[in-house]
C-alpha cells in the first residue's frame, strides 16, 4: 500500500472562491491547523499536487511486441515522492516505475474519453516533425529522446495540476502501479466510448443551434492550429538557412590560416582571426539546439489546439443528440396525435397505406397507441438526459476552456519572452566573436 500523505487540496470553483475538498481516506491525516497550510505548495496558481513527479531518465529496451517481432523501444522512468516529505526537508528515495510512450498514449486516450469537457494536455510528438534538415528525424536520436522525456514530464505535471484531471484514479495508478495499471484502464470500459468518440469526431452532422461561444472557440482552435503549424514550418526553414550562413563562415577560418602562411606582418592577425571564424561557425549548433525548446513549446500548443477542438466537437455532438432526441420526441407525439384524432397532418407511409387499404382494426390501433406512449415516455427521458448532458458539458467545458485560455496566454507569452532572450544571447555571441576578429584584424 502506497503511503502518501495527502494534504488538503484547494480547488478553484467557478466563482473564484476557494473551497476545500475532503481528503482521501487512506492517509495519515495531519491536523488541519496552520502548519498544514505550510505544506501546500503554491505553484503560482492555487492548484496543488500531492506528489512531486518527474520523468527522470530514458532507457532503451528490447523485447517482443504484440506480433512477436523483436523491437527496440524507449522506456521512461517516472519518479514520485510525497510532497509533504519534500516540504519537510526529508529526502526519501522516490518511488519509481518505467513506462513507455504507448502507455502514456493509453493514459491520455482514457482521459480524453472520460473527460470530454476538458482540454486534455497533449503528449509530445510521437515522431520528429518540423525538422530542419540538419536535425535528426530519428526517434532513437538521443537529443530527440531527451526532448521527449521533458515533454512527457511536462504532460504529467500539467495533468497532475489540473483541477479535475488530477483527481483521477487511473492517473494515480499510472504513477504508482507499474503492473496491473493496464488492466485497471481497460476495466473502466473506456475503449468502447473511445471508438464511438472517434466516429463522432470524424462524422459530419448538421447542428441547428450550436452554442455560439463554442463555435467561436472551435473556429479559434482551427486558427491556432493553422498558425502554430505555419510558424513551426517557417521556423524550421529559417533555422536551416541560418545554419548555412554560419557554417560558410568556417571557410574563412581555413583560408585565413592558409593565407597567413605566406604573410609576414599580417600572419598572426590573420591566423587568430581565422580561429574566431571557426568559433563563429561552430556556435550555431548550440544556438539552434536551444531553439528546439521554443519549437517544443509551440508544438505543445499546436497539439493543444486539437484537444480544444475536440471539446467543441463534443459540444456539437451533445447538441446534435439533443436535437435529434427532441426531434424524435416531437415526431412521435405527432404520430400519437394523428392516431388519436385520426387526422393526418403529416405524410406517413402508414397514413398512405391506411388510405389505400383501409384503416386498421381498433385493437391494433390501441396496441400501437400504447407502444407510442411507451416510446414517448422513453423519448422524454432521453430528451431530459440529453438536455442535462448537454448542459453539463457546456458548463464544465466552458470553465475549462477559460482556464485553458488563461494558461495559453501566459505560457505563450513566456515562450515569446524566452525566444527573445535566446535571440539576444545569439546577438551577444555574434558581437563577441566579430569584435574579437576585429581585434585580430587591427593587429595585422
Amino acid at each position: 500500500m502506497i503511503n502518501i500523505n495527502i494534504t488538503e487540496r484547494k480547488v478553484m470553483a467557478d466563482d473564484g472562491r476557494e473551497e476545500s475538498l475532503g481528503t482521501d481516506d487512506d492517509s495519515d491525516q495531519t491536523g488541519a491547523d496552520g502548519s498544514l497550510n505550510n505544506t501546500m505548495v503554491e505553484e503560482g496558481s492555487t492548484l496543488m499536487r500531492r506528489m512531486e513527479i518527474c520523468v527522470a531518465e530514458a532507457e532503451k529496451r528490447s523485447g517482443k511486441n504484440a506480433v512477436s517481432m523483436q523491437e527496440t523501444y524507449t522506456v521512461y522512468l517516472i519518479e514520485t515522492r510525497p510532497m509533504d516529505a519534500v516540504a519537510e526537508g526529508r529526502n526519501p528515495a522516490p518511488d519509481c516505475l518505467w513506462r513507455r510512450y504507448s502507455e502514456f498514449e493509453l493514459l491520455r486516450n482514457y482521459l480524453i474519453v472520460t473527460y470530454p469537457y476538458i482540454v486534455v494536455p497533449p503528449l509530445p510528438e510521437k515522431r520528429a516533425e518540423f525538422v530542419w534538415h540538419k536535425l535528426s528525424a530519428d526517434n532513437m536520436d538521443p537529443d530527440f529522446v531527451e526532448r521527449r522525456r521533458v515533454g512527457l514530464e511536462n504532460f504529467l505535471l500539467r495533468v497532475a495540476s489540473h483541477p479535475v484531471l488530477s483527481n483521477d484514479k487511473i492517473l494515480y495508478y499510472f504513477l504508482t502501479e507499474e503492473h496491473g495499471w493496464k488492466e485497471a484502464v481497460y476495466e473502466t470500459g473506456f475503449q468502447a466510448k473511445a471508438d464511438s468518440r472517434l466516429r463522432a469526431l470524424s462524422a459530419t452532422f448538421r447542428v441547428r443551434n450550436p452554442d455560439k461561444c463554442f463555435m467561436e472557440m472551435k473556429h479559434y482552435s482551427d486558427e491556432l492550429q493553422s498558425h502554430t503549424s505555419q510558424l513551426l514550418r517557417a521556423r524550421a526553414r529559417v533555422a536551416d538557412r541560418l545554419y548555412g550562413v554560419y557554417k560558410v563562415h568556417g571557410n574563412y577560418g581555413r583560408v585565413f590560416s592558409e593565407w597567413s602562411a605566406i604573410e609576414k606582418e599580417m600572419g598572426d592577425g590573420l591566423q587568430s582571426a581565422g580561429h574566431h571564424m571557426d568559433a563563429y561557425a561552430a556556435s550555431i549548433d548550440d544556438i539552434l539546439e536551444e531553439e528546439e525548446h521554443y519549437a517544443d513549446q509551440l508544438k505543445e500548443y499546436l497539439f493543444y489546439a486539437e484537444a480544444l477542438r475536440a471539446v467543441c466537437r463534443k459540444h456539437e455532438l451533445t447538441q446534435f443528440e439533443l436535437e435529434m432526441a427532441s426531434q424524435d420526441l416531437i415526431s412521435k407525439k405527432q404520430q400519437r396525435e394523428e392516431l388519436a384524432t385520426g387526422i393526418v397532418r403529416t405524410f406517413s407511409l402508414k397514413g398512405m397505406t391506411n388510405k389505400l387499404f383501409g384503416q386498421e382494426a381498433p385493437e391494433q390501433r390501441e396496441a400501437r397507441l400504447k407502444l407510442l406512449e411507451d416510446l414517448i415516455a422513453e423519448g422524454e427521458e432521453t430528451v431530459k438526459e440529453k438536455t442535462i448532458e448537454r448542459a453539463e458539458h457546456v458548463e464544465k467545458a466552458w470553465v475549462d476552456m477559460q482556464r485553458f485560455k488563461e494558461q495559453k496566454d501566459k505560457d505563450l507569452r513566456e515562450a515569446l519572452i524566452n525566444y527573445a532572450v535566446m535571440q539576444i544571447s545569439m546577438c551577444k555571441k555574434g558581437i563577441q566573436v566579430w569584435s574579437n576578429a576585429k581585434e585580430c584584424f587591427l593587429k595585422m
Binding site: 517557417a234 496566454d409 576578429a437 587591427l442
Partner: protein
C-alpha cells in the same frame, strides 16, 4: 657621375634628383620644395631624367645610387608607415565624384567629376575640376603603362560588363565603379613617380582630353613590338623575384577563395532573409486571431522585420564595398605579374646581349657595345623600381586589407547590435505587461 645627394629615385619626375626624397622615407624635409629652392652643386645634366619618356634614357645606375635606394628601404619601420596618412609628402589631392549621365544620339554614358588640388609647380593652377568618363581613365592607364613599364600601375575596375546582366546605369553599379576609379586615381597620385607623369597632368587639367585614339593604338602596337623584339629566354630569375612570383600566385589563389566565400555568404544570407521575412509575416497573421497575445506577437513580428532590415543593410554593404575591393586586388596582382614578366624580359634581353657581345669580343676583340650597358641599366632600373614598388604595394596591401576586414567585422557587429536592441526593447514591453498582469492578479 657622382651624385652628391644620394637620396631619390633615378627615374623620378621633372624634379632634380637631389630634391626628391625617397617616397618611403620618413619625410623630414618637404617633398616638393617651392620654386625658390636652389639646386645643390654637383648635379649634372644626366640627372635630368624626365618622366614619361621611354626607358631608353639611361638612369645613373651606379652602385651607390642603387645601394642607397635599397638601404633606405631597410630603414623603414613598417608600423609607422601609412602612405595615406603621411600628409607631409602629399601635395596632390584628387577626388572622383558626382556621376552624371550623358545622353547623345550616338551613345549614353556616365561622366565623373575629377577634382584636383595641388601645390605642385608642374600644374599651372592650384585647383582643377574636369569631367571624365571611363574611356578617359582607360586611356590614362594605358599611357602610364606604356611610359612607365618598370612601374606597377594600379588597376581599373572591369571595363566590360555584360549588357543584359548588369545595368550599367544603376546607382549601385555607378557608385561601385566610381569608388574604384577614385581609388585608382588616388593611388596614381600618391605614387612618387607616376604622379609626375605628364599624361596624368593632362588627364587632371585639360579641358578636353584629346585622346587621339589612333595614337593610343599605335603605342599599343609599339609596345608589343618592343616586347617581342627581345625574344630572349630568361635563365635564372633572382631568388627575391622568384619569391615575389610565388607569393603573388598563392595570394591570388587565396583572394579568389575569399571572393568565392564572400559571394557564397551573400547568397546564403539572401536566402535566409527570404525565409526570415516569411517568418515575420506568420507572427503578424497569428496576432490577428489573438487577443491577449496580439501585442506580443506583433512585437515579435516587428523585431523580425527590424532584423531583416539590418541584414539587408549589411549584405548591401558587403556587396558594394567588400567584393569590389577584393576583385580590384586580384586585378592588381595581374598587373604586378605583368610587370614581373617585363622585368624578366629585360633581364633576359640583357643577359642575351651580354653573352653575344662577350662571345664576339672573344672572337674578334669587338668591344662590348654601349647597347649592352643600356640594357644593363634598364634591367637594374627595373629591378630597383620593382622592389620599391613592391614594398609600397605590400604596405598598401596591408593597410587596405586591414581596413577591408575590420570593415567587415564592424558591419557584422553593427548588424548584431541592431538586432539585439530590437529584441531587448521587445522584452521590456512584454515583461512590463507581465508585471502589470501579476499585480492585477494579486489585487
Amino acid at each position: 657621375m657622382s651624385i652628391s645627394a644620394p637620396k631619390g629615385l633615378a627615374s623620378s619626375g621633372q624634379k632634380p634628383i637631389t630634391e626628391i626624397l625617397h617616397p618611403l622615407s620618413a619625410a623630414e624635409e618637404p617633398l616638393s620644395p617651392g620654386p625658390d629652392v636652389t639646386v645643390s652643386g654637383g648635379r649634372d645634366k644626366e640627372v635630368g631624367l624626365t618622366n614619361g619618356t621611354p626607358v631608353e634614357t639611361p638612369s645613373p645606375a651606379s652602385a651607390s645610387v642603387l645601394f642607397n635606394r635599397l638601404h633606405l628601404d631597410d630603414d623603414l619601420d613598417p608600423d609607422t608607415r601609412d602612405p595615406y596618412a603621411d600628409t607631409e609628402t602629399h601635395d596632390l589631392f584628387v577626388t572622383v565624384d558626382d556621376p552624371k549621365k550623358h545622353v547623345s544620339t550616338m551613345e549614353t554614358y556616365i561622366t565623373y567629376r575629377v577634382s584636383t588640388k595641388t601645390s605642385r609647380i608642374e600644374f599651372d593652377l592650384p585647383e582643377y575640376s574636369v569631367r571624365r568618363r571611363y574611356q578617359d581613365f582607360d586611356w590614362l592607364r594605358t599611357k602610364l603603362e606604356d611610359s612607365q613599364p618598370t612601374h606597377l600601375i594600379p588597376p581599373l575596375p572591369e571595363k566590360f560588363v555584360m549588357k543584359g546582366v548588369v545595368d550599367r546605369f544603376s546607382e549601385e553599379f555607378v557608385e561601385t565603379r566610381m569608388k574604384a576609379l577614385d581609388k585608382f586615381l588616388k593611388r596614381v597620385a600618391d605614387h612618387p613617380v607616376l604622379s609626375f607623369n605628364p599624361h596624368l597632368n593632362a588627364f587632371l587639367s585639360a579641358k578636353d582630353l584629346n585622346k587621339r585614339q589612333g595614337l593610343a593604338l599605335l603605342t599599343k602596337v609599339g609596345e608589343s613590338v618592343k616586347s617581342v623584339a627581345g625574344g630572349y629566354k630568361l635563365r635564372v630569375r633572382p631568388p627575391e623575384f622568384c619569391a615575389l612570383g610565388e607569393y603573388l600566385d598563392t595570394f591570388n589563389q587565396k583572394l579568389g577563395t575569399i571572393d568565392r566565400i564572400a559571394q557564397r555568404i551573400l547568397k546564403e544570407q539572401s536566402e535566409y532573409l527570404t525565409e526570415l521575412r516569411e517568418y515575420g509575416t506568420v507572427y503578424a497573421s497569428w496576432a490577428g486571431s489573438e487577443e491577449e497575445l496580439q501585442r506580443p506577437l506583433e512585437g515579435v513580428a516587428g523585431c523580425v522585420t527590424t532584423c531583416c532590415g539590418a541584414l539587408e543593410d549589411m549584405s548591401e554593404n558587403m556587396s558594394q564595398d567588400f567584393l569590389p575591393v577584393l576583385r580590384e586586388y586580384i586585378l592588381y596582382i595581374e598587373s604586378m605579374k605583368n610587370v614581373l614578366r617585363k622585368r624578366d624580359q629585360s633581364q633576359a634581353e640583357y643577359e642575351g646581349r651580354l653573352e653575344a657581345a662577350v662571345l664576339r669580343k672573344q672572337e674578334d676583340r669587338t668591344p662590348i657595345p654601349a647597347e649592352v650597358e643600356k640594357c644593363q641599366d634598364k634591367m637594374e632600373c627595373f629591378n630597383a623600381d620593382l622592389k620599391a614598388d613592391w614594398e609600397r604595394w605590400q604596405s598598401n596591401k596591408r593597410q587596405d586589407f586591414k581596413q577591408l576586414l575590420t570593415g567587415m567585422a564592424d558591419k557584422n557587429v553593427t548588424y548584431y547590435e541592431k538586432c539585439q536592441a530590437a529584441w531587448e526593447s521587445l522584452i521590456t514591453v512584454l515583461q512590463d505587461k507581465q508585471t502589470e498582469d501579476k499585480t492585477s492578479e494579486t489585487n
